[in-house]
């Protein structure tokens, strides 16, 4: 026998033996001690499937939902959200007051709160955070890094970009258990805005120790040591470990001021494929995932899983680009509005419980108008309007995205098909232009003028019309293709209202105006839902998806 074959045979024998040993040991270990402890852990572990990896754990730099979800467990802001609603509620600040001019806010801080590294949470810590944000410069002023800070506070202490020098932040003053934030000009949404996780309080010690604002070796501040390994907050859970691409583990914070959470451990696991998330839940490998596809809702609840709908804080609309001469005609826009059977679109393509939309903001949001012009489903009227406009048989371009699923637009392709059918029924021809969501479609809508009808929308990051009307209609954009100075001024005025009530009124007016101008048609407020294993109890959904998991319990 040749030496080679002998060697090969020995190898096979060894491999076989190893395999056998492995099988035997694994069988026996089922009764062993390790399995028992693992079993014990199982009941104490909540496994959640994320659709993608969190970008960063320093909430100041991120706005994506997966990062935010984790940040919500580790960090808390001065303001929190009343569970089950979008309402601001006391957080690390137990109460607050503002001056009439809307330029000064005083927060009463919660006592005896410590960051998880032992640093006390106090007024100095609060000011440290505010000053940190305000002093960011250089690459940290990039739109993708400090996106939300720029949105709310509009500028930094210094900047090369003149547009970023006119911020609303003026200063922070610590007064014992209270802290006062002063502004350069009024901003009506400050309180709801401070509930956004980007403005959560972080431990000054940890921020300094791990150089939170230093780009570090990776050259990206979102990937520095602090943001990937040492996020330190006051929240109910502590960061434990992050195996990139695989899982992220959190532990219960034993010294949480609100009491130690009932669940010991949270594992966030990354499953990008929607069907795979569904199946992992069905087979018991995970305990929950977000954004259930409309098609799966019935099956899941039928099989005993919890499908928890969130009150929608979003809008799906059909935009009508007025750079297109056909759509510039208000009669055509109105005709299209009357041609849409929103109820049918909802029942055919959107999750159960979704309501048709009448305004560009969802009902719970401050600024929702009492009554606006409505356009009922009326094909006959639509046809008549088209005839008046001489648009019967004309071809309208219809842009829609493919291969994407947004919380406000779970299946744009289906929605497109449904709308197309209705438009054709009233005598319009549709030239469908499907494009991949990112970047082609977004570019087509946001940067180019050659789009017609299109599907888009948005989800609110706070309970403020700012995140809807403020962003959509604050200035001239190629998206809508119209210029209406009066409208833009009204939006600006609403934005800088002195308080919430004033802001609500002003935005209600804007919303009313909009429905007369009809730049697009609000279609629906799709209900995003979350699926949970039946063994999880105590989950309270939040319209802002800002759930904190310290209320959860695991049965059995």
């Amino acid at each position: 026998m040749s030496p080679t074959t002998t060697r090969v045979r020995r190898l096979i024998a060894v491999a076989g033996a190893t395999g056998l040993a492995l099988a035997i040991t694994s069988c026996s270990s089922e009764r062993g001690t390790r399995q028992a402890s693992a079993g014990g852990e199982k009941t104490g572990t909540f496994v959640f499937a994320a659709a993608s990896e969190p970008v960063a754990l320093d909430p100041a730099f991120v706005a994506d939902s997966e990062s935010t979800r984790v940040a919500n467990q580790i960090f808390e802001g001065l303001v929190s959200i009343k569970p089950g609603t979008a309402e601001p509620a006391p957080g690390l600040a137990t109460s607050w007051s503002q001056t009439d001019d809307g330029l000064s806010y005083t927060f009463q801080l919660r006592k005896d709160v410590k960051f998880s590294d032992g640093t006390p949470f106090d007024a100095e810590a609060v000011c440290f955070n505010f000053e940190r944000w305000y002093n960011w410069n250089g690459p940290l002023q990039a739109e993708n890094i400090s996106n939300l800070y720029q949105l709310v506070f509009a500028g930094f202490k210094t900047s090369d970009n003149p547009a970023l020098t006119k911020g609303i932040y003026k200063g922070c003053a610590a007064q014992g258990d209270a802290v006062t934030i002063t502004l350069t000009r009024p901003y009506g949404s400050l309180i709801p805005a401070l509930a956004i996780s980007s403005f959560a309080m972080q431990s000054p010690t940890a921020l300094k120790q791990y150089k939170a604002d230093d780009p570090g070796a990776s050259g990206d501040v979102r990937r520095n040591e602090y943001s990937t390994a040492h996020p330190t907050g006051t929240g109910p859970y502590l960061f434990e470990s992050w195996e990139k691409g695989q899982r992220l583990t959190l532990r219960a914070n034993p010294t949480y001021w609100g009491g130690k959470p009932k669940i010991d451990k949270i594992v966030v696991r990354i499953i990008p494929d929607g069907t795979a998330r569904l199946q992992a839940l069905q087979s018991g490998e995970i305990d929950g995932y977000d954004l259930v596809a409309p098609a799966d809702v019935q099956g899941l609840s039928g099989a005993g899983f919890q499908v928890l709908p969130r009150e929608p804080l979003n809008i799906l609309y059909l935009g009508m680009n007025q750079a297109d001469p056909l759509l510039a005609d208000i009669r055509v826009r109105k005709a299209i509005a009357h041609a849409l059977d929103k109820q049918a679109i909802v029942s055919q393509t959107l999750p159960a419980g979704t309501k048709p939309a009448e305004q560009f903001i969802p009902p719970p949001v401050n600024g929702y108008a009492d009554s606006v012009a409505t356009y009922d489903y009326d094909p006959a009227k639509a046809k008549k309007l088209l005839e008046e406009a001489g648009a019967v048989g004309k071809t309208v371009t219809f842009n829609y995205p493919t291969g994407t699923s947004r919380p406000y637009m779970p299946s744009p392709e289906d929605t497109f098909v449904a709308i197309r059918t209705q438009l054709e029924a009233v005598g319009l021809k549709v030239n469908a232009v499907p494009e991949k969501w990112s970047p082609e479609y977004l570019e087509r809508i946001k940067a180019k003028t050659d789009h017609g009808l299109y599907l888009l929308g948005g989800t609110g990051i706070m309970n403020s019309a700012d995140t809807f009307l403020g962003i959509f209609f604050g200035r001239k954009t190629v998206e809508w293709g119209f210029e209406d100075k009066k409208l833009f001024e009204s939006v600006a005025a609403a934005r800088s209202a002195r308080n919430l009530a004033e802001q609500g009124e002003k935005y209600a007016t804007v919303s009313k105006e909009l429905m007369d101008l009809l730049p697009g048609i609000p279609v629906a407020h799709p209900v995003p839902s979350l699926a949970l294993s039946p063994r999880i109890t105590g989950y309270v959904t939040s319209p802002l998806a800002a759930e904190v998991w310290n209320t959860l319990e695991i049965k059995g």
């Binding site: 390790r34 547009a163 990776s218 691409g245 291969g403």
Partner: protein, 334 residues
């Protein structure tokens, strides 16, 4: 032998250079603006310009290429636009998952395919032959991701025998010194972790291994049939050797030569298949990352990963050539 390896290596270098040039030009031809992909639906033009400047997309193409080469020489392939992670880092973070999957898939294909091909050839025209030829045809014609879904549906959902996704039950607190989970379990003595990781590998390996399996069966069968007709096998029989010796020393050792070449070529298909399989089974490997990169036009990642995959492909084929030379003394001289 060393000269042989050196010669083969020397041939790889120009290919890789050509590839980087090609990739570079190619990806810059991509429509769309990665900055927009990054900043999302509410991006402003200033923001986009700033990102473009940050990543050097506003420079001239030759300049960008030189920059790219210079960084490449330092082993720096840039960082992902989407996540900011370094391309090299994220590749190696995810590489173990892909290695494990590819090894399992290919291993399955080899371990099942070679004996199946052999016995199909021995019983040519028999039921086993028809079965394996038929199965190997099916393996090639069913789209990989469809097969993956079917396998998952049947074995994980309907029958519940195997896990649906992931590499390991995340509730197990296993330690991962190497990132190859099965091996980790064995190394650390956490047998339940190893076993669990193994269970997680079965379905993905089946889905990914289907095409190589089909091809290996077919090549082995054809190759065995051919070798069995060779004069030296007749000589071996004329010597009165036992069947076992004939099979092992005379038939298989020769029949495996074309099979080993095929295995090398399959490595490429395997890496491509991993893009599909990893996505379906949420394995968070290189393939899945690449899939996401394609969807987000993450240039640096696309460029870096395709380059890496080409290198791996080249290395695997180099190894195959070397192993070929080990089996076949004639090849050593070439």
């Amino acid at each position: 032998m060393i000269a042989f390896v050196a010669r083969r290596l020397a041939l790889v270098v120009p290919v890789l250079f050509g590839l980087s040039l090609l990739l570079f030009v190619w990806l810059r031809l991509l429509p769309g603006d990665p900055a927009r992909a990054l900043l999302g639906e509410r991006a402003t033009q200033e923001g986009i310009d700033r990102v473009n400047h940050l990543y050097g997309f506003d420079r001239s193409l030759p300049e960008q290429f030189l920059l790219f080469l210079e960084r490449l020489a330092r082993g720096d392939l840039g960082s992902s636009i989407r996540t900011g992670q370094s391309v090299v880092g994220s590749f190696f973070e995810r590489f173990p998952a892909t290695v494990e999957l590819a090894v399992a898939g290919l291993g399955l294909a080899i371990v099942v395919g070679i004996p199946l091909g052999y016995f199909a050839a021995r019983r040519k025209g028999g039921p086993l032959d028809h079965l394996s030829v038929g199965a190997s045809l099916l393996g090639v014609v069913v789209p990989v991701f469809f097969l993956a879904y079917l396998l998952k549906y049947v074995f994980a959902i309907r029958l519940g025998w195997l896990p649906t996704a992931g590499r390991q039950d995340v509730r197990l607190d296993a330690t991962h010194p190497t990132g190859l989970y099965v091996l980790d379990g064995v190394l650390t003595g956490e047998w339940d972790a190893a076993w669990d990781a193994l269970l997680h590998l079965i379905l993905p390996a089946m889905a990914l291994g289907a095409i190589p399996l089909a091809i290996i069966v077919r090549i082995t069968r054809a190759s065995v049939l051919e070798v069995m007709n060779e004069d030296f096998v007749r000589t071996a029989r004329a010597k009165g050797l036992t069947r076992a010796v004939i099979r092992r020393r005379h038939v298989m050792r020769n029949a495996l030569l074309p099979v080993s070449t095929t295995i090398g070529l399959q490595a490429g298909a395997l890496l491509a298949g991993a893009v599909l399989t990893e996505t379906v089974f949420a394995l968070n490997g290189v393939g899945e990352f690449l899939f996401t990169a394609v969807n987000h036009l993450d240039y640096p990642v696309l460029q870096g990963f395709v380059l890496f995959i080409a290198v791996i492909y080249a290395v695997v084929n180099l190894l195959v050539d070397v192993s070929y030379a080990v089996i076949d003394p004639r090849a050593r001289q070439r």
